[in-house]
């Protein structure tokens, strides 16, 4: 134990200690490993601060007894209690808006704007088809960006994103007329769906609203029904553009068999706060966003510590493709559906075609989308693996593989 630390201890999920810093009083540092959450008296703006990290390092060597069990002092229990209070308050439901009437008016104004935007987009699409797509591949992005900007103004960011993608499809070469018609038609389906929302069943209406760009408050969701399960972390994937880092975490419920996706965001170049290591299994509550095909969820309360999880159970190629088809029937705007495949081998691309993912025994195969999946090939070595992937109409996108040693490998 380094001399700078004193009064360290651990009880349940909390670890604490006093660290002598440059000031006269030692810093009180406490970590809730369940959250995780950190609290330290130091003035550092880094989060977690170096004291919290140092404490965790000491604790991680606990096999050697660096941080032993102890009775939590008052300053620790006070912080833990206040933390629990906050969690409970969040779970109990959002604070009611100060003025329900004003909130209702705001919602109404937004609905009007969105409706106007959707109507305009529908008009643009039919105009486009009336005049013909020919030449769209040489027109550049400007036209699409302008329409996208109109959709942002109309407070329909979901439509804006899809419109921008139309520009990319048109400029993408290959069989662009066919793909542009597909994507335009799906966008048309969405605008028609939104305009006829009242006649849709509830879950489908929720899907349409989400796709158009309406969001649901996380606290509001957690106040509703939650699904408790042992959730295995299947994948954690960061993507970033110049404004935002987006992290997708996929979870697989051991009892329910459901797959869930958690989204979190960080400023450009910075990691989002939520981090769940690949292969971890946690007993937790999830609240799903309402949808005809629920997938996106928010993480609620955790029960007990997380532990390394097993290799998830998977299905062969045929049933995986059927699952994608069924999901598409519920939500036709899905780009891909997450699936766990087991007993599959990657087949390298050749003159006869691109890479395939095939059942180890059987004749079924799927195309593998994207660049050569060399890491997957290396993990497989020609032997069957378990694979978590997104399955879409262009093929599978491999995300995580479990080889014979049962260790998850991000791809």
């Amino acid at each position: 134990m380094p001399a700078s630390w004193s009064g360290t201890g651990t009880a349940e999920a909390a670890v604490w200690g006093l660290c002598a810093g440059s000031g006269s009083k030692p810093y009180r540092t406490v970590v809730d490993t369940k959250g995780p959450g950190y609290q330290c008296a130091c003035p550092s703006r880094k989060f977690p601060c170096k004291h919290a990290l140092g404490l965790l390092l000491l604790w991680s060597e606990a096999a050697g007894g660096a941080v032993g069990p102890a009775v939590a002092p008052d300053w620790v229990t006070e912080w833990l209690d206040s933390r629990q209070e906050r969690t409970r308050a969040a779970a109990a439901g959002p604070a009611k808006p100060a003025d329900p009437e004003a909130a209702r008016r705001r919602a109404e104004r937004r609905a009007q704007r969105v409706t106007a935007g959707v109507t305009e987009l529908e008009q643009r699409l039919t105009d486009l088809l009336r005049g013909g797509l020919a030449g769209a591949d040489r027109e550049g992005y400007q036209k699409w960006d302008e329409i996208a900007a109109r959709m942002v103004d109309a407070q329909a960011p979901g439509l804006a994103t899809r419109v921008r993608e139309l520009g990319a499809v048109a400029a993408g070469g290959g069989d662009w007329p066919s793909r542009l018609l597909e994507e335009s038609a799906l966008l048309h389906l969405l605008t028609r769906g939104y305009l006829g929302e009242q006649r849709l069943p509830g879950p489908l209406a929720a899907t349409v609203r989400t796709r158009v760009g309406f969001t649901t408050d996380a606290a509001e969701l957690l106040a509703g029904p939650t699904v408790r399960d042992r959730w295995l972390v299947l994948s954690q994937l960061d993507t970033s553009d110049d404004r935002l880092t987006t992290r997708r975490i996929w979870l697989h419920g051991a009892r329910s068999g459901r797959v869930a996706m958690l989204l979190s965001f960080g400023a450009a170049g910075r990691a989002p706060e939520l981090a769940l290591p690949l292969g971890l299994s946690l007993d937790a509550e999830l609240a799903f966003h309402p949808s005809a095909r629920p997938l996106r969820a928010v993480l609620g309360e955790s029960h007990g510590p997380a532990a390394p999880g097993p290799v998830p159970a998977g299905v062969p190629v045929g049933p995986a493709l059927a699952a994608y088809g069924a999901a598409l029937a519920d939500d036709p705007w899905l780009d891909a559906w997450p699936v766990v495949l087991s007993g599959v081998v990657p087949i390298p691309g050749s003159d006869a075609g691109g890479w395939q993912l095939a059942d180890a025994d059987g004749q079924d195969a799927l195309p593998i989308a994207g660049r050569g999946p060399w890491r997957l090939a290396a993990v497989s070595g020609g032997h069957p693996v378990t694979l978590f992937a997104e399955l879409g109409h262009t093929g599978v996108r491999p995300l995580t593989a479990w080889g014979p040693d049962a260790t998850p490998v991000p791809l």
Partner: protein, 537 residues
Amino acid sequence: MNASWTDLVGSALLGTDRRRPPASGGPHPALDPATELLDAAAIGTVSRRAGLRPAAARERPAPAAPDGRPVLPEAARRRLGLLLADRSAGGGSSGRRGTAPNLAELLPQWLAAAGRYGYAAPPALLPDLLDAARARTDLRADALALAGPRALWLAELNPEWRFALRAGVRGLEPAAGDPAAIRQLWDEGLFAERVALLTRLRGQDASAALALLRSTWTGERAEDRLMFLDSLRAGLSPADEPFLEQALTDRSRNVRATAAELLSALPGSALAARMAERARSCVSLGTGENVAGIGILVEAPYECDAAMERDGVAPHPPTGRGERAWWFGQLVEAAPLATWTARFGGRDPEEIIALPVADDWQPDLHAAWCRAAVRQRDPAWARALLGPPPAPASPVAAVGDPAKLLSILPEEERAEWVARFIATHGLSEAFQMLGVCAVPWAGPLGRAVVDALDIARDAGSYPWSFSGVMGLAERCLDPAEAERLTVLTAATEEPDDGSPGAGSYWAEAFQRLVGTLRLRAVMLAELEPPAPAAPAS
């Protein structure tokens, strides 16, 4: 795509004003053709996607051969991932590194150390490892040894990694064992691969390598012959003499010169005897006008005859050098050093070098002896020519290239000499010499380098004037020195006449040095196999 989808795309391209879409049976038949087209396309798209069927699997690859070697310890596996990631992030070359260790430069050391344990690389890291080996040929042997059979399996599938099949070849062990594979690579390989094969084979079975080279010798291009001949340097023996004698008549002058050089490194060769005869006739012991007492008298050759030329003597001196001195130097360089002990009445190398030389011939004679000592790898002569490290004010090297002479000496002696040199001369001339010292540096050498760096800092110069030595120190200092170095990482007061800001840059450079040394210690410790678990009772 079915016919009706093709029709829809056709209408969409031309526009429904020009071409009405086929009747779709969609929900809004009467509305307007464009809406009708979009409705039909939406239905078509979703039903096509939702109804996708599996494709027919092509032929599966044969599974990779099993790899029975032990897996890397977990910490070492993570370390390898980091070292490889730093490489692909463009680590080594980009600008100032601050206090962060240069991970890419540690990769060769890590691979060499891991190789000594016989671990298998984790499959997931094989693509990165192969990419690293592709980019840096100096990593290939160690990287491919670690990568094992699955890397070869991958290399069969990816053209970018083909080098692994040829260079690392189906083994790193195969060479002597598989004559057919060797023959195929020799006949079909790229030039670099053939050189690598020849060099490796030469290390295992010198005569087999010679036979391989002779089998195609006359058909090789002149530049290639030169490089191939050069790879005979290792494992040179009298058995090579007939072939080398033959090469003295090669069409290419460079090949002839190299053959002569190799022959002269064989003291028992006929060429060495001829050169000894020529050199002896130019040098005698006696009393001359300009020599006090007894000394060496030199009578340089007056011509370069055809026989000399055939034995590799270059007839035309570089600009600024006299012909006779030029020829003389080449004769002495190629003559066996034992010649001189016999010539000078049984004197040993020290005594011979101490002899005065008449008429300003000493620099030429001694320089030629230096080259001869290096070529014949004669430690006694190298030691005598080096002498003790020169005194502070005197020139760095009395004669010849000290780094080359040092490389002939035993490791310990080499390190000690360089340590004493640095103690008197500092670091500015030491880079080459440090480069020939064994890694990790011996204690006294390491301390001398660190002391010299400390002195350079106190003198107020900038650390990047010493970046070459710093980089070497990061890789070559014994990690155990890290603790002793920690005191240097604090920023110091700058001397009044020092360069502005140098103090903090030095602190940074020393922090990186200490950080790198610690990292090396940690990464080597991570490779230790875990202690076997006590058997359950």
